[in-house]
């Protein structure tokens, strides 16, 4: 049971953070399919930094610096999406897909360059990130994730920034007509998704194991996070709930054999399938009342009235 909670939190916090990133981007009006790629970039940057930090460094510094490095890398990578979508008005789904393909290739090239074994595997120590609370093993990403959740909610609904951001995704002409710089706001949205997605990528890779083969990227977690975002109707706390819901299935996939469910003799493939099937069912029921930001995916052109 504890194991179930551990894995659910582990995986759920990843999905939540990445989905929050996607949420910010889409609230500003930019569809971000590149979350998968951003996670990979964040993962490789964070892990690399981790391996390069001196051995004697205090744990909190290790955590701080590597997470910052990941976030930074994610933001820089997301600039590619921002530039293509906002300045060049490219198709956002195509741009996002391109960045996903590119990210895995970049990550593998970098990993192979720095790896000692010639493969794309990097080894690191994740001790600094783990701690135990009452018998439950957790990573620092869990409390970090919840803090980010609360900050996201406040930012989105209680600040001037959030109001303006949402206006840009719903009705950019209205925002423009009251003097808001839609381009700048959208850059902010995409950069936030870059930071959050990258931290999510690190949270996916670092806590469970001490070695990672970057050839697998992040195994579809970025896309699942997109589903979480839609399921959560672009609202922070709903996204948290959706993330945990999906995470339960994923952790069952890992540990089902050791619980009562082992009697079903379902392999991990079946558990892995379930979140996706569940999303489709939910989507089918909620599509009519979708709260998707109205102007998302449509490049904003000042000249059009």
């Amino acid at each position: 049971m504890l194991l179930l909670i551990k894995y659910t939190l582990l995986y759920g916090i990843v999905l939540m953070m990445v989905a929050l990133g996607g949420m910010f981007s889409e609230h500003s009006g930019i569809i971000n399919i590149a979350l998968e790629g951003i996670m990979v970039i964040g993962g490789v940057a964070g892990v690399l930094t981790l391996t390069m930090l001196p051995a004697g460094m205090p744990a909190y510094l290790v955590v701080l610096i590597s997470i910052l490095a990941a976030a930074l890398a994610g933001m820089v990578y997301s600039l590619l999406l921002a530039f293509a979508s906002i300045n060049l008005k490219a198709d956002q789904t195509i741009g996002g897909t391109a960045l996903n393909l590119l990210a895995t290739a970049i990550a593998v090239v970098i990993a192979k360059y720095f790896s000692t074994s010639g493969s794309a595997k990097l080894n690191y120590s994740n001790k600094a990130f783990l701690f135990t609370v009452g018998g439950l093993e957790m990573s620092v990403f869990v409390p970090l994730g919840f803090v980010l959740l609360v900050i996201s909610f406040i930012l989105l609904y209680k600040t001037r920034f959030g109001l303006r951001l949402r206006a840009c995704g719903e009705h950019p002409q209205a925002a423009d007509s009251v003097g808001i710089n839609v381009y700048k706001m959208r850059y902010a949205g995409v950069l936030l998704s870059g930071a959050l997605g990258a931290i999510g990528g690190m949270a996916y890779i670092v806590p469970p194991v001490q070695t990672w083969n970057f050839e697998v990227g992040v195994a579809g977690a970025g896309f699942l996070a997109l589903a979480v975002m839609i399921f959560g109707q672009w609202k922070p706390f709903h996204i948290c709930g959706a993330a945990m819901f999906f995470a339960v299935f994923k952790s069952l996939a890992n540990i089902a054999d050791s619980t009562f469910l082992a009697q079903l003799h379902w392999s991990s493939n079946i558990y892995n399938m379930m979140p996706f099937v569940a999303s489709m069912v939910i989507l089918a029921f909620t599509s009519k009342n979708s709260m998707a930001p109205k102007a998302e995916g449509i490049p904003y052109d000042k000249g059009s009235r």
Binding site: T159, R160, L163, R164, A167, H171, A174, V178, I180
Partner: protein, 514 residues
């Protein structure tokens, strides 16, 4: 000149790729006056006001406020100078509340955190002072169009704007709401605010404006004092010649019933009410029947039901004796119905297809144009060339032009060519001349009358009362989804129609003014 001008726009030129929207225009606004800006579609009125509001930068010219030159690079600058604008297409965020929309861009805040309480107080005070009733917490998606416009006005007042620009404000209002708006404008005038008011409606200018500047095709035509002018003079300045206000046509000679509409009701799930209520009427061969009414009273939905784009809740539609209530769109087309749609870009054309592909949009499946599933491109080209010549449809590369690059007028002519050439028994024409200039309008009117003279039945839907009066043989007024009156244009007046359109009267029932 010792004039008391609060705003002067001097020799403004604004260009877009391929077109000079404003060509050396000068506009001077006196303090405390209501100044109308008149012109046809495409004359450059909205562009000029967008320059004043900082949405566009002019290539040449300068703007003065109270005699001093100012730079307006964005709406914030305009606001700082006290200039505000109510746009034709409202710039409101649907899922935000009234209050959020009003404060967007000038949010009161403490270190970035929103402080809505003081804003709310100010909004309530303003709405009481000027009689603009709103609920600050209502969502825009839930309130009426008239109320949405009030929110736009409050946006200006909240920012303490003294110079108020209204862009075609009455297009979406009922006659009663229009009167209310005129009162509100007079109220602003008394407070010393100056108003610029874009319109193409002569009646309103005569009713409320002090002076009027006329633009035509981007150029300045003149400024007149309303007291000293007439509608005829204004319209001459607007169009450049004496407008043929009458369409010459022989009297109608109606034959048998072509379209029989019985008890049609249509339900709108989103708004949870009937958009069309128990509508019944007939159209005979050789007559033009017009559905008149203010936009949003069920005409659009009815036409969708008639042409098959939407389902009816109840009722029956018969075309030339055949029951088509459940028929598919293709079937109705085959049974002799042609449809010139309300929105030429949404329904009428595939903009990224060539002109010839659009010309055969309703006929590509016929044996004349395909064999065994393969398109006969030579036949398609032949047909398209013929229609282009016959109906004078202009384009860059003839039949192979991509329709998106064509002008609105020529796009509409292409649709009309296609729909009329099919030789339908019933021609359904919805707003066929919307957004077109006078030359195109006259041409299209003559085509419609020609169809009727050939013995076809024509169902026309129009928002322009002049068009309604000129073209129709019979007028049916729709209000809130019902037919509230039937009229003969020869014996009725625009004023009478207006009363019915506003719901103040109903044939068979006299109801009080709402």
């Amino acid at each position: 000149m010792a004039e008391d001008f609060v705003i002067e726009m001097l020799h403004i030129t604004k260009e877009f790729p391929g077109i000079k929207a404003n060509d050396d225009i000068t506009l001077q606004l006196r303090k405390g006056e209501v100044h109308a800006l008149l012109g046809e579609n495409g004359a450059g009125k909205s562009t000029l006001m967008s320059v004043l509001f900082g949405l566009y930068q002019p290539e040449q010219g300068k703007i003065l406020k109270n005699g001093k030159e100012v730079a307006i690079r964005n709406p914030n600058d305009a606001n700082a100078l006290g200039i505000g604008m109510v746009h034709q297409h409202f710039k409101l965020v649907e899922c935000f509340s009234v209050l959020d929309n009003i404060i967007l861009g000038v949010e009161p805040n403490k270190m970035g955190f929103l402080q809505k309480a003081e804003a709310r107080k100010k909004v309530v005070a303003l709405s009481e002072k000027y009689g603009l009733r709103v609920d600050p917490d209502a969502l825009i998606s839930d309130i009426s169009v008239g109320m949405q416009q009030r929110v736009e006005i409050l946006k200006m007042l909240y920012r303490d704007n003294e110079i108020l620009i209204f862009d075609e404000p009455t297009a979406v209002l009922t006659p009663q709401e229009i009167d209310e708006l005129m009162e509100i404008m007079r109220g602003f005038k008394k407070e010393g605010k100056s108003i610029l008011f874009i319109t193409h409606k002569l009646n309103e200018i005569m009713a409320v404006a002090d002076r009027c500047t006329v633009l035509r095709k981007g150029k300045y035509m003149g400024t007149v004092d309303i007291q000293n002018t007439t509608k005829e003079e204004l319209s001459r300045l607007m169009v450049g010649r004496d407008v043929q206000l009458q369409v010459n046509k022989k009297p109608a000679d109606p034959g048998k019933v072509v379209l029989d509409v019985e008890g049609v009701t249509m339900h709108n799930d989103q708004r949870k009410k009937d958009s069309v209520k128990d509508v019944s009427f007939q159209v005979h061969a050789g007559e033009i029947v017009c559905l008149a009414g203010i936009e949003g009273n069920g005409q659009t939905e009815f036409i969708y039901g008639l042409t098959g784009l939407e389902k009816l809740s109840s009722g029956k539609i018969t075309l030339s004796g055949k029951d088509i209530t459940r028929a598919s769109i293709r079937q109705r087309s085959k049974d002799g119905m042609s449809h010139i749609p309300e929105d030429r870009h949404k329904h009428g054309l595939v903009l990224d297809y060539t002109l010839e592909n659009n010309m055969v949009l309703q006929r590509y499946w016929q044996p004349e144009f395909q064999k065994g599933g393969f398109i006969r491109s030579d036949k398609v080209r032949e047909y398209s060339d013929k229609l282009i010549a016959q109906y004078d449809v202009r384009s860059g590369q003839g039949s192979s032009t991509i329709v998106r690059s064509m002008s609105g007028g020529n796009q509409q002519k292409a649709i009309i060519a296609r729909e009329i050439d099919r030789d339908p028994d019933l021609l359904v024409a919805v707003q066929p001349t919307r957004g077109l200039d006078v030359g195109a309008i006259e041409y299209i009117h003559s085509q419609i009358v020609a169809e009727r003279d050939k013995g076809k039945a024509v169902l026309l839907v129009s928002l322009e009362l002049d068009e309604v009066m000129n073209l129709s043989d019979r007028i049916l007024v729709m209000y809130e989804g019902e037919i509230v009156g039937e009229f003969d244009p020869k014996t009725t007046t625009v004023q009478e129609l207006g009363l019915y359109m506003a719901g103040a009267r109903k044939q068979g029932k006299e109801s009080e003014n709402k």
